[in-house]
Symmetry: C2
Subunit: 358 residues, 2 copies
């Protein structure tokens, strides 16, 4: 996190569920945000819409947005259909004309658009396509196992369950506890909010694990703890490959399992979510073939729970799994960090010489 | 396989291990090959170099190659370093000038090279970049489970162990047995040799399973059996994600495990290869969370074994696993197809409603 002054474009979509990037930036870097551009909620405040954070202004036009004095425009939602709608193009063009850095998480790269590039060149503005990935990524080869830092991967019982939030909360908690800790993002939101990283879901399949490996190697020096943002789920029919690639590429020393207790079926495919002990066994097994990585705690996504219910769920999950459980957004990630440190008491696990049967 | 007349460019690399594409095309479509271009082995025959197949000429220059009357130039090896060396560029240019279709499996697309495109446009030649993948691939959602055909995925105990060859031999054997069977390639070699398919290792990570799903949906209609070419291995530190994506995207009804008995450590990482029963359990478990897919037989890669040794290994493997085992290149894939049909006696497995613990 730095000293940017960010205007977030969330046109027509500024809701907690829809505008994941916008919401996360406001949660974790509110001091950097000058306002949100969304004509649908214009006039209200971000606190009013989101239910948390400072009451930042929501404006309806780019002109009002520029009046807030931003130096960066972040495109915080994807347009329906993928292509840049004409109205958004005009917003981006005006931001670039005004000299703002435009950071985009869109699949279509703004930096490949000759018209926008020409405007940026005239004004000296910068276009940052967050999803653009380096072309020299390696095929992973267990090098991430060699770093001195303790590497923790957040994994989940479904996609869109809070793996990025958990990794961020773990990082903040570890820092509060006096450790040198870094958040290693693997998605566009995390990449914008904090730290070095790259958007692994844009990487060509053969190099996803290599991308995770590079993320660990680049983030680890000088740190005690590296918290790698997980993606997808090992049992998601579409994303399981990315999840496994992250696990085998990042070579974590420990895993934190993220779970939303009230979600009983997966979002996309409505498959019944299996019990947590089976999830823990699955993740420890798939990691353990190449390097042991115990699941040391459960991070609860309790966005739809009050504090009392979140505590009840935590107790129930601890009884079920024998592991510490906490909603880190509500109560801080300290117990999760403690669980990592306890598990690492005997030192980092070493990679196996022979793949071991599960 | 069709009625092309193919000249294979394998410059400096025409050996069985190095020129996988060239070797496979000569093995499975020899009637389409007019010769090989490789100045290092020029003057010998392909049978002499490979130890199998018809004695096709190997020539040292593109001019000699054109004299063989090809209509297609297949780039059958990747240049060291990735970029197109000037000498190869001259060969491709001459082939295009002569009106040949140039089919390339290189990561760098010839169709993006303005100079080569201009030549092709002048002569009416066609450039086919085998690794170019469609941009509209879906995220997989278990749709492949719905096809009527029996879907078989070849999986392996390492990368580069013979999954494509096994799928091809299974297809040929099934056809000999009177079944409607199709080979569904997922790599460049298979794609050139036969059938509809796409090169999944070029697909952006989120869509690999979706690519596998589409391959099954496109190949299945009108077939009894679809043999999907597997990729990588579930325990390869770099490629495991692709392997799992293929498993969860193609939703096979059965798996054939490919193993080279003399390989005790993995090629790239020198991890000891675990015993076959553990491999079988791993694959059945990772498939079974979403849809049961028994491993029904072992395909032996016996390229370094004589017939007697291959038979001995088959017996030993059957004792170890309780499953039929055969080297399909030496003895035909019929026993493997039989194993699939026997396992499907009770009908295709259905996808699970709830993910099941392993």
């Amino acid at each position: 996190m730095g000293d940017r002054r960010v205007l977030i474009l969330a046109e027509g979509r500024f809701t907690p569920l829809d505008a994941k990037t916008a919401t996360c930036v406001i949660r974790y870097a509110p001091e950097e945000v000058v306002g949100v551009l969304d004509s649908r909620t214009a006039g209200r405040t971000t606190a009013d819409v989101l239910g948390f954070g400072p009451p930042l202004p929501i404006v309806g036009t780019i002109e009002e947005g520029l009046a807030l004095g931003p130096d960066t425009l972040l495109i915080g939602v994807a347009p329906r259909g993928g292509a840049l709608p004409p109205a958004w193009r005009a917003v981006v063009a005006k931001a670039l004309e005004a000299g703002l850095t435009v950071a985009s998480g869109l699949h279509t790269f703004l930096g490949d658009d000759p018209e926008l590039v020409a405007i940026a060149e005239r004004s000296g503005a910068r276009i940052v396509d967050l999803r653009r990935v380096p072309e020299d990524l390696p095929v992973a080869s267990r090098k991430a196992a060699l770093v001195d830092a303790t590497v923790v991967l957040t994994v989940g019982t479904d996609c869109n369950v809070g793996k990025m939030t958990a990794a961020m909360e773990l990082t903040l908690a570890a820092r509060r506890m006096g450790h040198r800790a870094v958040f290693a993002p693997t998605g566009q939101t995390g990449l914008f909010v904090d730290g070095k990283g790259l958007v692994v879901d844009r990487v060509i399949a053969d190099f996803v694990a290599g991308a995770a490996e590079r993320i660990v190697l680049e983030n680890a020096p000088g740190q005690d703890l590296v918290f790698v943002e997980g993606q997808g789920s090992l049992l998601h029919p579409g994303y399981s490959g990315v999840t496994l690639a992250l696990l085998h590429g990042s070579m974590p020393d420990a895993q934190i399992l993220v779970h939303q207790p009230t979600r009983t079926r997966t979002l996309n495919d409505e498959i019944e979510i299996m019990p947590l002990p089976a999830w823990i066994a699955l993740h420890e097994r798939m990691a353990g073939y190449l390097k042991p990585a115990p699941v040391v705690a459960i991070a609860i996504n309790g966005h739809d729970l009050d504090e009392a219910s979140a505590r009840e769920w935590a107790e129930r999950i601890t009884r079920e799994t024998g592991l510490p459980a906490v909603d880190p957004v509500k109560f801080g990630g300290e117990p999760l960090v403690e669980a990592v440190l306890t598990a690492m008491g005997a030192g980092k696990p070493a990679p196996v010489r022979a793949a071991r049967g599960g």
